[in-house]
């Protein structure tokens, strides 16, 4: 089925089989393997991407369902070698260990800023991470990273909709 997609700022029209999950299109057809498949059962959030600024589990949406929408994956956040403020905060605050959940955590963090603003508190972040599982960190540094990333996004004026230099 003809499907119009804007992925990390690149508009394209593709022929997509209806049973293709968005995460399968991203990873298998577009080689955007930064979006991870942790559980494939809508639990873990490793596959989170932004669709028109909203975080969505890309294992639980068909590629044909995002026709006409703008998708931002983890690959679309940095501006060249300059990390997005939320990515930089994860690095600075040691918000990752094995890194498998990190793409989904960063995406969820950016949406938390969209929803609650740059001054979001730690309790709100912890609550809003209920759709993201991490098996390494115990979450404390992830929460610190998102809080620091939120502050940095407020200072730099980075968009919480996921648009980048590509857009």
């Amino acid at each position: 089925m003809q499907t119009r997609l804007t992925i990390n700022g690149n508009a394209q029209t593709r022929e997509v089989a209806p049973a293709t999950l968005l995460v399968e299109l991203l990873r298998d057809e577009l080689a955007l393997t930064g979006t991870h498949i942790g559980c494939d059962t809508s639990q873990c959030g490793a596959c989170n991407v932004l669709i028109d600024g909203q975080s969505v589990k890309s294992c639980t949406i068909l590629a044909v369902q995002v026709d006409g929408k703008a998708i931002t994956t983890i690959e679309g956040l940095a501006d060249g070698d300059t990390l997005h403020p939320m990515q930089a905060a994860f690095k600075e605050a040691h918000g990752l260990q094995c890194g498998f959940c990190t793409p989904g955590m960063v995406i969820a963090g950016i949406e938390i800023v969209r929803r609650h603003g740059p001054d979001v508190d730690a309790a709100t972040i912890a609550h809003d991470l209920e759709g993201n599982l991490c098996r390494c960190t115990g979450y404390m540094n992830i929460i610190k990273a998102i809080q620091a990333g939120a502050r940095a996004m407020g200072q730099t004026g980075a968009s919480a909709m996921g648009e980048t230099a590509h857009a």
């Binding site: 089925m1 089989a17 209806p18 049973a19 999950l21 494939d40 059962t41 809508s42 639990q43 959030g45 989170n48 909203q54 975080s55 969505v56 589990k57 639980t60 949406i61 068909l62 044909v64 369902q65 026709d67 969820a108 949406e111 929803r115 809003d128 209920e130 759709g131």
Partner: protein, 263 residues
Amino acid sequence: MRDFEYARPASLADAASAFSGGGEAAFIAGGHTLLPAIKSRLRMPDTLVDLAGVAGLTGISSDGDRLWIGAMTTHATVAVDATVAAKIPGLTGMAKLIGDPQVRNRGTLGGVIANNDPAADYPAALLALDAIVDTDRGSYAADDYFQGMFATALADGEIVTRVGFRVPLASAYAKFRHPASRYAVVGVYVARFADGVRVGVTGAGPGAFRWPEAEAALATDFSAAAVAGLPLDPADLNTDIHAGAEYRAHLAGVMLADAVKAA
């Protein structure tokens, strides 16, 4: 996943004709129940009819003593909508407890009640808030609409278009969440109206139900004390790997008291 056809209609009439185009068809709204069911082959539709592009199925409005919410309105939208918060803040609180942020960004009111999972949250709210379910073919009172596990009054191919909640004097939802799935192990929605009290229970039995004894006790005295120790017969309740029927019966009383205190 197994292959299927996919249709993206723009109107209710086109959706109905796509649904009846041959083979087994299913409507898809947010898809957060249906797609997992297709992955695990609990459902094997030949055609998916996506309701996302159908005009007129989203939106929230207030009309007299009713709050109307379009069937394709997401839980995330309900959770932050100012009209919902002003008219029925209990419904705002319930929406915030559904799933997780990513699920709330996709899941819809219409999808939930068309599926009628016995542990879904909205059915308890529809029963307690004396809701009206409008479809492309007619209208149902919530009391007639829910008919047990995954069963509703909807005919094959009938589409929920909107739900009208009766605005109460006060209401609240209390839920004991399953920590992994976030479905209700037991959830209780309590609504107080000028002419009485309505109590909807989900998660406890094979489908959402009203609790007449609790409604009668609260109509006389709207307090947690009035329903303390009120028994709920475990004979009709669910036992599964998460909780036994007697535990669910006890939990319903605890959730009822919490909801009354919060209302």
